[in-house]
């Protein structure tokens, strides 16, 4: 085996997390395209591929979706076009994309998706369990699973080959535990020369239909009804059967290349085991550690784990368990009401088909929501098996492990609920006239008088020092009178104000999924008015409904927001824009301006920050012809209060109001915490963020930097932030000029609209 030795030599020992080594593997494979959308804990993979790309280590086309559903669509389109395609996601991102998954498999388009497993909402939990993975079981994808970073690396080239195999032609998931594997650094052997990986995966097999052959046109995705669909599905079933044959062949081939052996079913010290536990992912490695220690005490303990979940390797599971006296199956997610998790049922089903098998089987639910799995948890599982052997019976076939019945905690009232009086703002709105001649007169007091207004968010929230969100939100809320119900989209403001069992909200607060806030709150609003109409709520009750979102929420939630605006519900959508997905670690949003550096728009030899211009969300919302749209900043509070008060009036009397607040994010803008107010004011003064309102179709600039003698070029703003420092360098002059030109163009347009009554 001269080849093997030669290639083994070029392997290098490194120290990487699961995400890091997944990114390296994908970069080495050099997929044609990655469609992605950030979600913890898989986000880093796209970030690191982009980082390597700007240094010339790969040429993967990185396409940032408008949400996971969009990202999955981008991937699908790219596979139909015949490319090698990659994606990475987790939890609700996966669920949001779920309907795309059976399409990908049912139309037989191979690709690779890293599913970095995480608990599915709700309540929202960002840590690792297998509840997202279990949704994948019925999608028709091949599912490979890695228990540690080394296996993460090894399974990537195999996933490409398995999916593209002529007898398989299916998309493939490479799954691994969120955080436990994705974020823990371990020793990993890898090929420093990516060519070894590219040689292994080889060229894409030819001869399969794709959408980029105009001389050989095809129809992809016709509708297909009952007499035919079952046969398409049987083809998928056969492909899975074939995968059972193909995958072990690829494992063997990989062993030739890497020297590392992989098996569909990994049996650790199972050959003579009396008691065994089945675990998936990082917990299986913990189980091995405990099995070793039990063996030292004379207990014949073994561990069973799967590296291939789909197709489910029935024969191998049967063989491994043939002589085991008692088995405890751990599931890291429930199939509620099914009396056990999915793995428990699948393994039990395999054993039922083996007439010779006499293994006693119990199953336990563990580690939900990322609850750590310690060696003593594995010991407890083995103990259950040992007890079953001694009693020769299964006392409790299924239960949860690691639950708490009751604690001493009492939900103490820490701050009193706000009274109506405390919520009366000194800002007053008066409506003069009606119809087209209606005019709202807003009287704002000097700031000192505003200091008595109670805050609807309590101190104690966990935002970063210098966070711009809360100053801006508080100034908005100060100008609102009366009861308020808020809905926060997923994002920094939501995360730092509601870490269980704490909440910083003194008024009623709702959180639903990332993209669905506008739809959710419109339902709440309509229920309020319907209950009022039916007399189920007192007529005098008056509530203002405010949805708070980041610019990320307005990307993934653009559709529902436009829907709510078109339906014109009596509510406010308030966006705090920090120009990026800061909650997940500063990835680009569509509101990130061109040239700005984020973790998915890196700056390097081959990259100059974000490649396209910032989204003009205020104008998009204005185009829905809602009664009121505004922009505002914390550095001009009087202007902000006026607009907030108007927004409330319109949201109570007419329909939807939308406002956008530019706020500083010192952490990810790489700017000084103390300078946030000045930085946003400079963004206004350079006309990047014009302060204006669109009131019943009439645009009005409320502050013109030029007229005030404050106008500055965009450089003055950009040089205040580390994320744009590179734009001052000569090599980035073209992008700087393009940005200035776009800012000027948009401002001229806005000014013309401001000056013309019909625009």
């Amino acid at each position: 085996m001269a080849l093997k030795e030669q290639e083994l030599k070029v392997q290098k020992s490194t120290f990487k997390s699961g995400n890091e080594i997944a990114a390296i593997a994908a970069s080495q494979i050099n997929f044609h395209l990655m469609g992605f959308y950030p979600i913890t804990p898989s986000t880093e993979i796209a970030e690191m591929i982009d980082e390597m790309k700007v240094e010339g280590e790969n040429t993967i086309a990185m396409v940032a979706g408008d949400g996971e559903h969009g990202a999955a669509g981008i991937c699908y389109g790219a596979t139909v076009a015949g490319g090698r395609v990659f994606n990475a996601t987790s939890a609700n991102g996966y669920l949001y994309a779920l309907e795309q998954m059976p399409v990908q498999s049912g139309t037989r388009m191979p690709m690779v998706l890293d599913l970095v497993t995480r608990s599915v909402s709700g309540p929202l939990d960002i840590r690792g369990d297998h509840s997202d993975l279990y949704f994948a079981l019925n999608t028709g994808w091949v599912i490979l699973y890695a228990n540690n970073p080394q296996e993460v690396y090894d399974l990537h080239p195999i996933a490409v080959r398995a999916g593209e195999h002529a007898d398989v032609r299916l998309p493939v998931i490479v799954g691994f535990d969120g955080f436990f594997t994705s974020h823990q650094k371990r020793r990993v052997q890898y090929f420093e020369d990516g060519q070894v990986i590219r040689n292994f995966v080889g060229e894409q097999p030819k001869g399969f239909p794709n959408a980029l052959e105009p001389r050989k046109p095809k129809t992809f995705g016709p509708y297909m009804n009952d007499p035919d669909l079952i046969n398409n599905k049987y083809q998928q079933h056969l492909a899975m059967q074939n995968a059972l044959r193909v995958i072990p062949e690829l494992f063997a081939e990989w062993e030739q290349v890497s020297g590392r052996k992989l098996e569909m079913v990994e049996s650790y010290r199972m050959e003579d085991a009396d008691v065994a536990v089945f675990l998936l992912g990082s917990a299986a490695d913990t189980g091995k550690e405990v099995a070793d220690r039990l063996r030292e005490k004379g207990i014949k303990a073994g561990v069973l784990t799967l590296h291939v979940i789909r197709p489910f390797p029935v024969a191998e599971v049967q063989r491994a368990l043939r002589n085991v006296k008692a088995l405890v199956i751990g599931d890291r997610a429930d199939s509620y009401g099914a009396n056990g998790g999915n793995m428990a049922h699948e393994i039990k089903s395999a054993l039922k088909d083996d007439p010779e098998n006499k293994t006693l089987v119990a199953s336990r639910l563990y580690g939900v929501g990322g609850k750590d799995f310690y060696p003593d948890d594995a010991e407890a599982f083995f103990q259950i098996a040992i007890d079953m052997v001694s009693k020769n019976a299964v006392d409790v076939p299924f239960d949860y492990h690691g639950i708490t019945a009751v604690t001493e905690t009492q939900p103490l009232e820490v701050v009193a609920p706000l009274t109506k009086e405390e919520q009366q703002s000194p800002v007053k709105v008066e409506a003069i006239g009606e119809g087209d001649s209606l005019e709202l007169k807003v009287v704002t007091p000097p700031p000192r008088q505003m200091m008595g207004m109670a805050k609807r968010i309590s101190p104690g929230h966990g935002a970063c020092p210098g966070c711009g969100i809360f100053g801006a939100l508080d100034n908005f809320f100060r100008a609102l009178s009366g009861d308020v119900v808020v809905l926060f989209h997923t994002g920094c403001a939501m995360v730092v104000t509601t870490g269980y069992p704490y909440s910083a909200h003194r008024v009623t607060y709702i959180h639903n999924l990332f993209q669905n806030g506008a739809a959710t709150l419109s339902g709440t609003v309509e229920m309020f008015y319907e209950k009022k109409r039916r007399g189920e709520i007192e007529i005098g009750e008056d509530i203002t409904f405010v949805m708070v979102t980041g610019d990320g929420g307005m990307d993934i939630g653009m559709g529902p927001s436009i829907g709510a605006a078109l339906r014109n519900h009596k509510m406010i959508i308030l966006e705090y824009d920090n120009e990026g997905y800061m909650n997940t670690g500063s990835q680009l949003s569509y509101s990130t301006p061109i040239g700005h550096k984020t973790t998915t728009s890196n700056v390097g030899t081959l990259g100059g920050g974000k490649s396209f211009h910032h989204k003009d969300t205020a104008q998009i919302m204005a185009a829905t012809h809602i009664p009121y749209v505004f922009t505002a900043v914390e550095s001009n509070p009087q202007d902000l209060w006026k607009k907030a008060a108007k927004a409330q009036w319109y949201a109570k009397n007419v329909g939807l109001a939308y406002g956008k607040l530019l706020i500083a994010c010192p952490l990810n803008w790489l700017s000084e915490e103390r300078l946030g107010t000045k930085i946003v004011q400079t963004a206004v003064d350079c006309n990047f963020f014009p302060l204006y309102e669109v009131e019943r179709g009439h645009t009005k600039l409320t502050y013109d930097p030029e007229a005030k003698g404050k106008k500055v070029p965009v450089e003055e703003w950009l040089k205040m932030m580390g994320k744009t420092k590179h734009m001052m360098k000569p090599e980035f002059q073209p992008v700087l000029q393009a940005f200035q030109a776009e800012v000027d163009r948009r401002f001229r347009r806005l000014k013309a609209m401001s000056e013309h009554p019909d625009l």
């Binding site: 120290f15 650094k185 371990r186 939900p411 100053g471």
Partner: protein, 342 residues
């Protein structure tokens, strides 16, 4: 690096039942504990040929929130198969003294273990606060070292760890510092190395052996509620309770100092404060008309961003290096906010 990672000869004289030497860093997001943990582990694994693992506490914590970083070291042939957090460390490093008040920082420390604390206090004074009877405690003013070397606390802590853990090669860690920062922030390398050296040299250790060494009485933290008393659906029935939190450990050495004499009650500070720290009361203005007056700052929530100092049109708010006890002495609590204690 001169060390050959394949030598495989390195031995650990102290290890737990799994063969691991365990280090836990207790810190605040923004102090650089994650990167310090990563560099320490990389130095051991890549440059010294040890086996190791490294990770941080996970959550949605932001800069300024408590974080932990974990490093496991093992001899080259010992596999690392545990992914649970380190509960019984051999070394604990406390990046900010204020954490002692708010977090169980030395929970699970092994008898005879080492605690490294960033503080101006002596080991003896810290020993009294931590109630550790069998431990070696090292203290140093890492914040001042960091400020003076234009570096960060984490580099000084690495220097202290290099002295505390004898199997770690100081040169390996320094090489890792050079490798980590040379590419992206080359200007910081000399200061970081200087900070490391001063941390190593200035840490003062004292060993305490009072009475019999009790085995570690470790108790795992539990949930807030059990399934019998948790409100259904995860609803929080006492909202606003975040006001019970103490965020003072978020400050990184600076806070705003308030001078009432120079204050004109203009409210500019309050309008930019992200953390709602300013305390007002109903009073009268200079002409005797009813008006709001600024009483002071509730430092329990102040994270030291100093936006208020920038906003202040007079000298009423100014930067100050935080000295022990200042915040407590000058604290003005929010009126009528908290109805019950923590």
């Amino acid at each position: 690096m001169a060390v050959d990672p394949k030598q495989g000869a390195i031995r650990l004289s102290i290890k737990d039942e799994y063969g691991f030497f365990n280090i836990r860093l207790e810190s605040i997001g923004g102090y650089g504990a994650n990167i310090a943990g990563k560099m320490l582990a990389e130095a051991g694994v890549l440059y010294q040929g040890l086996n190791g693992s490294n990770f941080s506490s996970y959550g949605s914590e932001k800069k300024g929130s408590p974080v932990k970083a974990f490093i496991r070291f093992a001899e080259p042939q010992t596999p690392i198969r545990l992914s649970s957090p380190i509960e019984e460390p051999h070394i604990v490093c406390i990046f900010h003294e204020a954490l002692i008040r708010t977090e169980p920082v030395v929970r699970g420390l092994r008898p005879g273990g080492i605690v490294i604390v960033n503080t101006k206090k002596s080991p003896k004074e810290i020993q009294e606060v931590l109630h550790l009877e069998h431990a070696t405690i090292g203290t140093f003013d890492a914040m001042t070292i960091a400020v003076e070397t234009k570096s960060r606390v984490n580099m000084a802590v690495l220097g202290a760890i290099a002295r505390a853990a004898e199997f770690l090669d100081e040169e390996a860690i320094k090489s890792m510092i050079v490798d980590t920062f040379t590419k992206k922030y080359p200007a910081t390398v000399p200061g970081n190395l200087q900070c490391f050296d001063r941390g190593r040299d200035e840490i003062v250790f004292e060993t305490f052996e009072n009475g019999e060494a009790a085995p570690s009485a470790f108790k795992r933290g539990g949930p807030a509620y059990g399934y019998l008393n948790m409100p259904l659906g995860g609803v929080i029935v006492n909202p606003g309770n975040m006001a019970a939190k103490d965020l003072s450990a978020s400050r990184q050495g600076f806070l705003p100092a308030f001078n009432r004499e120079k204050c004109i009650d203009c409210g500019q500070c309050d309008m930019v404060c992200p953390d709602f720290c300013f305390v007002w009361e109903n009073g009268v203005d200079k002409r005797g008309r009813p008006a709001m007056n600024l009483l002071g700052i509730d430092y329990q929530y102040c994270k030291g961003c100093l936006k208020c100092v920038e906003a202040c049109p007079t000298d009423a708010l100014q930067d100050a290096r935080e000295v022990d006890g200042y915040a407590k002495e000058h604290m003005v609590k929010h009126i009528n906010l908290l109805v019950s204690g923590r």
